[in-house]
């Protein structure tokens, strides 16, 4: 297998990358880790004229604390993020989800930003960004803008990113230090894309749930925020929340599809079950804490 021919550029600054994307007039594709893009190139499902490799841009790498949150450079590798102390301390939900992204060998090269920007609906990183309330920073020659993760995804592999735009950062807001992480997924093998999964966080203050961020993956054309479930949880005491009823609300927000791996009904049934389990476990952890 061989990709269709393309030119290759390796800019060393964000400005240069944006200029290349602008000049390509929509014919360029950004490559970071390439763990999803190169298969698409090899299968000729993607045929860009120019590949803009952002691995030479230091400003797109690394993890830093910013006001009220943690900023992840999009070209940071998944393996690096997985073992990062700052992320471990402030974003345990993201780290938990990261452990399920691909395999050891693909995490070594795959990036956080690549997964977030690509928008594979069954991937963990887009759903984690939506659940945790991340903001995606975007640059182009026309200027910079920020988009909330829950407004970033339009459909399978479709986002609000214009062809001349580059993701330059993902900012995850802080959650209270004692928040609880929720994560469950069902996949055919560890490392495969999930058939269905959910990720999120709950915070408790004064005996009541004060904040809830929950999202599905593999349950529709995009990562899906479980809005109704979040609303139902906020203000409830952990011991009183009805996990089964809240899971029903969460499933009501989804739009799963059937494919050769699982039917839509299977996804709804299993989704409901893993949501109940994750929620019960989280609520019990808080009740006994």
């Amino acid at each position: 297998m061989k990709p269709a021919p393309f030119d290759y550029e390796r800019p060393s600054s964000i400005g240069e990358a944006c200029r290349l994307l602008d000049e390509a007039g929509g014919g360029a594709t950004v490559i970071a880790g390439g763990q999803t893009l190169v298969p698409l190139l090899n299968l000729r499902m993607s045929q860009p004229f120019i590949l803009v490799d952002i691995n030479g841009i230091d400003a797109l790498k690394g993890i830093s604390r910013v006001e009220g949150g943690t900023r992840v450079g999009p070209a940071t590798s998944q393996a690096e993020a997985l073992s990062d102390e700052t992320l471990g301390r402030h974003l345990p939900a993201l780290v938990t989800a990261l452990g399920h992204v691909g395999h050891y060998q693909t995490r070594n090269r795959g990036t956080i930003g690549g997964s977030v920007a690509l928008g594979e609906p069954a991937a963990e990183m887009p759903a984690a960004a939506v659940a945790l309330g991340a903001t995606i920073e975007i640059a182009s020659v026309r200027g910079n803008r920020s988009v909330k993760a829950d407004e970033f995804y339009l459909g399978p592999f479709m986002t609000v990113l214009e062809p001349d735009e580059l993701v330059t950062g993902i900012v995850y807001p802080d959650w209270p230090p004692d928040h609880v992480v929720l994560f469950r997924e069902v996949a055919q093998r560890p490392g495969d894309f999930a058939l269905v999964g959910m990720v999120g966080a709950l915070a408790i203050a004064d005996g009541k749930i004060s904040r809830a961020g929950l999202a599905w993956f593999g349950m529709g054309p995009t990562p899906i925020k479980a809005r109704q479930a979040e609303v139902a949880l906020i203000g409830a005491a952990p011991g009183e929340a009805d996990a089964q009823a809240i899971a029903e609300l969460a499933v009501a927000d989804t739009a799963p599809f059937g494919d050769h791996r699982a039917s839509a009904e299977y996804r709804r049934t299993v989704g409901r079950r893993i949501f109940v389990r994750a929620l019960r476990e989280a609520l019990e952890a808080k009740e006994t804490a």
């Binding site: 393309f6 290759y8 090899n42 393996a79 693909t106 090269r109």
Partner: protein
């Protein structure tokens, strides 16, 4: 279609070449440099046969372009055994435990296990098995590979010997 001059080392030996932008690192290693120990199979990142180390880190050589390896230190299965032919402990463990049959997937598996153990010489059986999720083997049923991992983790044949 652009062409690029790249310089890299493979198993410590320097190479330089002109490559088409679209050439994968795996194809470059095999077809241009003759390191045919690296096996290309699925060429979309699923099977793991093509795994090589790049600057000491295990990666899919089918999912990386040769041009992206400019300046890198690449390690392939040809670099594992000592100059006198003594097998690397990972190779020896795979051999001792029938961790291979046809051998097609073996170079990738050997590279992954080597990098895991280089990172952490005391890697546990569970850590090595987790890294194996990135490899497909159609012959062994995996039990021989698991035995090799147990030996490498110091619990099995390796310790008894």
């Amino acid at each position: 279609m652009s062409e690029h001059r790249i310089e890299l080392t493979v198993n410590g030996r320097p190479h330089s070449a002109r490559v088409e932008a679209r050439m994968s690192l795996g194809e470059f290693l095999r077809e241009e440099l003759g390191y045919t120990g690296t096996h290309l199979a699925c060429e979309h990142g699923v099977c793991g046969a093509c795994t090589v180390s790049v600057d000491g880190v295990a990666m899919r050589s089918c999912l990386m372009l040769a041009v992206q390896a400019d300046g890198a230190d690449v390690g392939t299965v040809e670099g594992l055994a000592a100059a006198d032919g003594t097998l690397h402990p990972v190779q020896q463990a795979l051999r001792d435990n029938f961790g291979l049959q046809c051998g097609f997937c073996t170079p990738g598996i050997a590279i992954t296990l080597t990098t895991v153990l280089t990172d952490n010489p005391r890697a546990s059986e569970a850590e090595m098995e987790a890294a194996m999720s990135g490899h497909v083997c159609r012959c062994t049923g995996y039990q021989g590979i698991r035995r090799a991992i147990r030996q490498l983790a110091g619990h099995g044949a390796g310790e008894a010997a």
